[in-house]
Amino acid sequence: MFEIFILLAKYLFIIYMCVFLLCGFCINLSKEGVVDVSENLLAAVQRIMIMLFHITAFIILVINDKEQPTVTLIFGLISLLYIMLGCILLEKIYKKSSPIMYNGIFFLTDIGLVMLTRLDDSLASRQFIWCLLGLAVLIVLPPILNILPRLDRFRVLYAALAIVLLMCTLIFGSNFYGSTNWISIGPVAFQPSEVVKLLFVFFLASALSQKPELRQLIVPTAVSAVIILCLVAQKDLGSALIFSMTFLVVIYIATSNVFYLLGGFGCGALASVLAYFLFPHVRTRVNVWLDPWSDIENSGYQIAQSLFAVGSYGLFGSGFTRGYADYIPVVERDFIFSAVCEEFGVLFGIGIILVFVMIFLEGVRAALYSRSRYLTLLSAGLTALLTFQTFLIIGGDIKFVPLTGVTLPFVSYGGTSITMSFVIIAIIQWVYMRNDMYKQDKTPEEYTPHPVDEQIPHRRRRRRSME
């Protein structure tokens, strides 16, 4: 009977995912003024889907746990409470925030917690502590940012801090997973590159907050180059790539000049080719990406195991807890996506990608309606960070791009990574809420939900005033 439940659950998980995405899609349509539906109701349905997902998954986990089912049960209940409280509390406190963004990240966080519980209980409980911290960040960060004065004035501070942090890592750093990108202070080890991410985007946004001429691009470019080279020196190629792409996107948005994007991309390609010939470890990565099968015992092992996980059970997966994810090395960090694809099915994996796209759309929306260049660039830059990180690791897992050991935001295990992802979302939400305040300054009527006929001229007016 339990087997049948696991089998049924396979389809249930996919149904939950579809309903969640459908609701998100309808909310987006409503925001664009295509249809008129209650966004609050749909967001509530999304939360119910997360709850059902959590309950279904933990029923399986508890029955499957032969050693300490009560502990798993208690963990399941506490994390359920956390997820529900998180979504509802945030939406109640911040009425003008984007509920689908909160729902999206909590769904992903829950998928991460469920998968980690299945792989290793102790990792899951540690991850849970970080999630609690993340929730606290989401709650307290927006008012703090409101109080703080003019964060766009400290560009020198951001740049200096970022470079100092990276230098420290280079000098004092310890080696994990082949990259020197960790610092240990007493018992706590953290990844400075995750913190530098934030400083980097703050720096770019404030440095470009006035419409720049070519001459004024030199300093930001030089600083970015130093930061990126530091990351390359630490062999943290994933972060270096993410920073480079973010830099290009921010420059492109700040200048609206497509030649900077193309030129930058050309330089990036050139640099990659150069790196291939200069650094043996880059060469190894690329060769493994091109052909993991010829050296399957050693360098190709990870990616081959990942592909087996993704490819063996097809669209609907092996059934939760019935896969072989334990065989993939560092599955909880780099390959969590493959493990999810194996047990929940490739369809569910596609769903996860779409949930990410939904979150990024909200980030782009925040940038689109920001009231200052600084806020636009800040939210666009932060969104770009998450976007490229997600793309790189999922692409790496399925051998679409060379594997760079970065984490999948909200899902992978990793303290610094998950906390910083929450910080990024908190800031984007803050920008989003400020946009709404701005809208209300201009028009007295309540913003959400809008009658369709009023919303369109309203947007047009605002756009004109920006340009």
Binding site: E3, L8, I353, L368, A384, I394
Partner: protein, 490 residues
């Protein structure tokens, strides 16, 4: 600025759409190629929760199945195991054969959801998919009976597709008692019963290799067909090299047809020296020597070695199938099939499809061309040569006559419209071989296919230390005849 942001969003969307597309490609299209890699741990899994699927013959006869004992533990049971164990393999000491290679299918439950829910309420066990072989169990039993207790192997295949119809080997073992017999099976005196001689046994090809030498000659120049010389039973090439026909028989004046029919060693060794080392090497390469055959079960690669600096004696010996050449009965059956199939060698396969418990067919094997090893013209000429072997040469005993009354059909109502039923005189094309063996009596080879004008079956027989090939010829003949009377019309 706003338009730029929108463009950036479309770039993101495009990136992820491409990513999703690639994910689908990897998991749905490409995965068939890589998930069978031996490093995939899923291939070795045995689930405690489901019943392993059965292994069936092409007509649904059960060869291996699982059954629960009183304690609720599944056991694997094999029917007629000594006859089928080289194909099914075993599961008790690691896994071999189909059990190993198709473990994934046997352990995969692909029944429809509704069917499985019904099963759950009816208390029916959840069972993995069945694997259906291309092998005809009746033909397999018949071939095993023909082989009897002679050491050796027989492979029968369908030339047009590469389907293995039967594959027997002796000595064999019982997969039900592998655990208990393990020591005996691996002892020195046991003559390696765990070795599937049909696919893993390497033998000198003897005169069956003349198929290759003839094909090489005809490929070089079609006029070789009319090349004549006088056989004196023995020929001296140089002081160190002398070749002798079987029993030193003097064949007199002969062209290729007669020399092939009588299996004249002096003729083909002369031709070999005329062709030279390069040509023999390239022909052996074309014939898939030293190469992967892509067969699903454990097999050995045939080996051909004639280095450029070989002396005359090596060339002479190699061109009549002595020398260092080693070949498996499976490979010999494939070569024979290729002659029958217009020169196209098909990839051999032994699993036709898998099916869910509700009968849905999955993973049907699609016949695949391995290589065109000779032109259709040459294949037709070799076929003529091989017909003459049966009509007037060394294998006159292989001729088949089928009395229409012997033909067994499954359904009496359709037997009246006997389309495709083979009766009367059936033209067989074949080639005998006697492989000299350093450690004992010669091995006897016979390869054949029939009917020559529309081949349905090719057979390769090797009998270790059987001397000359009478029994091999008779076995091949009887197996082909049995196939036409008892199997083909099912």
């Amino acid at each position: 600025m706003k338009n730029t942001i929108k463009k950036v969003f479309w770039i993101y969307t495009l990136l992820f759409v491409v990513l999703i597309g690639y994910l689908c490609k990897v998991s749905l299209a490409d995965s068939n190629e890589f998930i069978t890699n031996s490093y995939n741990p899923r291939l070795n899994r045995v689930s405690d929760y489901i019943k392993r699927g059965s292994i069936l013959d092409i007509n649904g006869q059960v060869l291996a199945y699982s059954e629960k004992d009183e304690e609720g533990v599944y056991h694997r049971i094999y029917n007629d195991s000594n006859i089928f164990s080289n194909i099914t393999g075993y599961t008790s000491k690691g896994k071999t054969g189909v059990e190993a290679k198709y473990n994934f299918m046997l352990e995969t439950v692909s029944s429809e959801l509704i069917q499985r829910i019904k099963d759950a309420f009816a208390g029916t066990e959840v069972s993995g998919d069945d694997v259906v072989l291309t092998v005809d169990a009746d033909l397999q039993r018949y071939a095993a009976e023909k082989l009897g207790t002679s050491k050796g192997a027989i492979v029968a295949m369908e030339p047009s597709s590469g389907k293995i119809l039967s594959m027997v080997t002796y000595p064999n073992y019982n997969a039900n008692t592998v655990n208990e017999d393990w020591e005996t099976l691996n002892s020195e005196e046991s003559d390696s019963p765990l070795l599937n001689r049909a696919a893993q046994g390497l033998y000198p090809p003897g005169s069956t290799f003349k198929i290759l030498t003839a094909a090489a000659a005809l490929g070089e120049d079609p006029d070789y067909l009319n090349y004549s010389m006088v056989c004196e039973g023995v020929k001296r090439f140089d002081s160190a090299t002398r070749i002798r026909c079987f029993n030193s028989t003097v064949h007199g004046n002969e062209d290729m047809t007669k020399a092939f029919a009588k299996s004249c060693n002096t003729y083909f060794s002369t031709i070999g020296t005329m062709l030279g080392i390069d040509k023999l090497n390239s022909e052996a390469y074309d014939f898939m020597f030293n190469q992967s055959l892509g067969f699903d079960l454990e097999y050995s690669q045939s080996s051909f070695s004639l280095p450029l600096d070989s002396n005359l004696s090596a060339v002479v010996e190699t061109s009549i199938g002595q020398g260092k050449t080693l070949v498996t009965p499976l490979h010999m059956a494939m070569i024979t099939s290729a002659v029958a199939n217009n020169g196209i060698m098909m990839k051999p396969y032994i699993v036709d499809h898998s099916q869910s418990q509700s009968g849905n067919v999955k993973n049907r094997t699609i016949p695949e061309k391995l290589r065109s090893i000779m032109s259709p013209d040459i294949a037709a000429e070799i076929t003529e040569l091989m017909k003459e072997v049966v009509n007037s040469g060394t294998a006159t005993d292989a001729a088949i006559y089928i009395d229409p009354g012997d033909v067994v059909t499954s359904d009496s109502s359709t037997s009246s419209s006997s389309v495709g039923v083979i009766t009367g005189n059936v033209q067989v094309a074949g080639k005998t071989g006697t492989a000299e063996n350093a450690s004992g009596d010669d091995h006897a080879w016979f390869v054949a296919f029939a009917p020559a004008d529309n081949p349905r079956i090719a057979v390769s027989v090797i009998l270790e230390n059987a001397g000359h090939g009478d029994k091999a010829i008779a076995s091949a003949r009887d197996i082909m005849k049995y196939y036409f009377t008892n199997c083909i019309n099912k």
